[in-house]
């Protein structure tokens, strides 16, 4: 939807692809044309390069935007597009391959003079002996992180505190990496103490210009998955910004990077930063950069793919105008250990109003399928400063009303009011520590006022339904379908009232 909207802004026609369960999805209805590419399981549809190329050819599309999931960082797909005479809106396949391998990306960063987190020089093949992995872990020193070479989004990643846990964590990481990326190769990295995750968005054109943007702070993570992002980082000074963005641009230039990409760094407590990895695609959190710079990143991706020169004023890209925050809202039940909560959304009230942006495909009557990542909204808010941005985000979260499924909205309402968040005193493990301290305590505990109002509403509902009226949400699937009981004698008056009330 984000890409379709950018196309429409530019007067370009768009073609969507969809799997069986996405037939009714909003991106299909929003696009000018749409092509079915197979059954719901991603391996039968969204990951089928042959079908995607076929759809592009049949539609006569000139270019392919890979989005930010599925094949967005897949060099085979990028090469297949090129071979089919289609413009791939992203970096060259060789660059995706180079930066997609976490170990060769580390080499590229080192070659560009950028420090990296101490770790394995070469990846471990899926059949590498456990003893070799154990030796390497001992050399780096515990705790170590096991990471998938092809990884991203925290999948295939395990933290190992002590040698005894290494073997089982290795197995788990390999199995998850193999399932998620089709590549079970792993590597090890030393775990820094209390680091922050700070990343630099950049754009590169086909003529050698690379422009970095003001950094994003993404330290609020649950099990290595970002849940809140903000820009600028509350702890990055203008001097550090100049150094970290130059370092990111140096890495991107050294590999001939084009299109949108992000270089992720870990920032330690002493303000030293280390190259972590590069995402060779548009990222989920790109809206906050757009909000503080006024630059449309997707439009630039398309223009760059067309051969346009990147002529942005560096001051615009690097000087944040105000502060922006994004919450990734998931169909997960925060009161049940963030268990996915697929199902039908019976009603949804999305926030709007000043300085709020809701990038969402969810709507009343739509299903959150079990097959895909259960993110339902990327909710962003802008303020002149961090405090105002937080206030607006809290207002927007207060308005967000999703019924039928559980979402992480109650969690975000709590998180934005947390003293450590307000004070910006956090690192990448802070959220996991806070959640551990809560020991599963509910985020949805109603207060006295809410309970009282609920009791009044329930009593009114009961009273009304006994009187033959219905106060139920008609969209809810558990609404009683039976007509209300009508007394046979003298019932006509009441029946008339029932019908009047229903019409």
């Amino acid at each position: 939807m984000r890409v379709i909207r950018a196309c429409r802004d530019m007067g370009l026609a768009s073609v969507a692809v969809y799997s069986e369960c996405d037939r009714g999805a909003r991106h299909v209805r929003l696009a000018d044309e749409a092509f079915a590419i197979g059954p719901s399981a991603p391996t039968d549809s969204y990951l089928r390069i042959d079908r995607l190329i076929d759809a592009a050819r049949t539609s006569g599309a000139d270019a392919v935007h890979p989005g930010y999931g599925f094949l967005a960082e897949n060099e085979v797909f990028a090469a297949a597009c090129r071979d089919a005479g289609l413009t791939f809106i992203g970096p060259a396949p060789e660059v995706i391959a180079l930066m997609g391998s976490k170990t060769s990306a580390r080499h590229a960063a080192m070659a560009a003079g950028v420090p990296v987190v101490p770790g394995t020089a070469q990846p471990f093949a899926p059949d590498a002996p456990e003893a070799a992995i154990a030796d390497e872990a001992a050399r780096l020193g515990y705790p170590v992180l096991i990471k998938a070479v092809a990884g991203g989004g925290g999948k295939g990643m395990r933290l190992v505190a002590a040698p005894g846990d290494l073997a089982s964590a290795t197995r788990a990481a390999r199995s998850e990496a193999g399932a998620a990326f089709g590549d079970a190769a792993i590597y090890l990295e030393r775990r820094l103490a209390r680091p922050r995750h700070v990343e630099v968005q950049l754009l590169g054109d086909l003529h050698g210009t690379v422009q970095p943007f003001v950094e994003r702070e993404c330290s609020i993570q649950r099990r290595h998955q970002k849940v809140i992002e903000e820009t600028p980082s509350p702890v990055v000074s203008a001097e550090l910004r100049a150094r970290i963005t130059s370092a990111a641009a140096a890495v991107a230039r050294s590999v001939g990077y084009s299109s949108a990409g992000t270089i992720e760094f870990l920032l330690d407590e002493d303000g030293r930063f280390y190259f972590l990895e590069m995402n060779t695609r548009l990222q989920v959190e790109h809206p906050i950069t757009e909000l503080v710079t006024g630059v449309d990143l997707v439009e630039w991706q398309i223009r760059i793919a067309r051969g346009d020169r990147l002529d942005l004023d560096p001051a615009v890209a690097l000087t944040p105008r105000g502060h922006a925050i994004e919450c990734r809202i998931y169909a997960e039940d925060p009161d049940a250990g963030f268990m996915p909560s697929p199902g039908r959304i019976t009603a949804i009230g999305a926030p709007a109003g000043p300085f709020v942006r809701d990038d969402s495909g969810a709507e009343a009557g739509s299903d959150v399928p079990i097959f895909y990542d259960p993110m339902i909204s990327k909710l962003s808010a802008w303020g002149a400063d961090r405090r105002q941005a937080i206030g607006r985000m809290q207002r927007a979260l207060g308005e967000y009303d999703v019924r039928g499924i559980r979402t992480t909205v109650p969690f975000f309402r709590w998180m934005l009011a947390e003293p450590s968040f307000e004070a910006a005193a956090f690192h990448t493990s802070t959220l996991d520590e806070l959640l551990q301290q809560r020991q599963g305590e509910s985020f949805s505990t109603p207060n006295e006022e809410e309970e009282e109002v609920a009791a009044i509403a329930a009593a009114l509902h009961e009273d009304a339904s006994r009187a033959g009226r219905v106060l139920l949400d008609p969209a809810a699937r558990w609404v009683r379908q039976d007509p209300p009981y009508v007394a046979p004698r003298g019932g006509w008056k009441r029946q008339a009232r029932v019908e009047a009330l229903r019409s």
């Binding site: 049940a336 809410e450 009282e452 609920a454 009791a455 329930a458 009593a459 009114l460 139920l472 558990w478």
Partner: protein
């Protein structure tokens, strides 16, 4: 009409009085006028109090006979209606005494990635039993109470539907 409404913290007695086409609600001893109108999206707007009225948007769905979920300004409040309410104290399932065998069920459709226990194993409370993958994430299902595994009904690699009993613990 007088009703007993169970809310998460306690039971409340709510009395509804209709007079001259107006609605009054007495709750916890205080009587207040209420105005209710249907609004979009299946919700209701309640104005409670007069002349100064507090404004609430609520939606009601029936989760089971006698049990409702009420969304108050987007927050979900489970309630029970009529003498049937059971006061469910927070954390009762985790801290309370085990009653009968625990049936660990799949909370959603997915694929069993890993079975961590076998019949006869002694398990601690919160010990991992089965790992189910759904929506690209692995979820570990854990024991609620300590006990002994009586039955493991699934094998690794199996596809399970939501509600399928995976493990029974005594």
């Amino acid at each position: 009409m007088t009703l007993e409404i169970g809310t998460p913290s306690r039971a409340r007695v709510v009395q509804i009085v209709r007079a001259e086409g107006r609605l009054r609600v007495r709750i916890d001893g205080a009587s207040r006028p209420v105005d209710a109108v249907r609004v979009g999206g299946g919700a209701w707007s309640l104005l409670i109090g007069h002349p100064v009225a507090r404004s609430y948007e609520v939606a009601i769905a029936e989760s089971a006979p006698g049990e409702l979920v009420v969304y108050v300004r987007g927050r979900l409040v489970p309630v029970t209606v009529g003498g049937r309410f059971r006061l469910r104290r927070r954390g009762a399932t985790a801290a309370g005494a085990p009653s009968g065998p625990q049936r660990i069920v799949a909370p959603m459709s997915g694929r069993v990635i890993n079975v961590l226990v076998k019949a006869g194993d002694a398990v601690e409370a919160r010990q991992g039993l089965v790992v189910v993958e759904a929506m690209k994430m692995e979820n570990e299902l854990r024991a609620i109470h300590a006990g002994t595994v009586r039955e493991v009904r699934v094998a690794e690699g199996a596809s399970v539907e939501a509600g399928t009993v995976l493990v029974v613990i005594e």
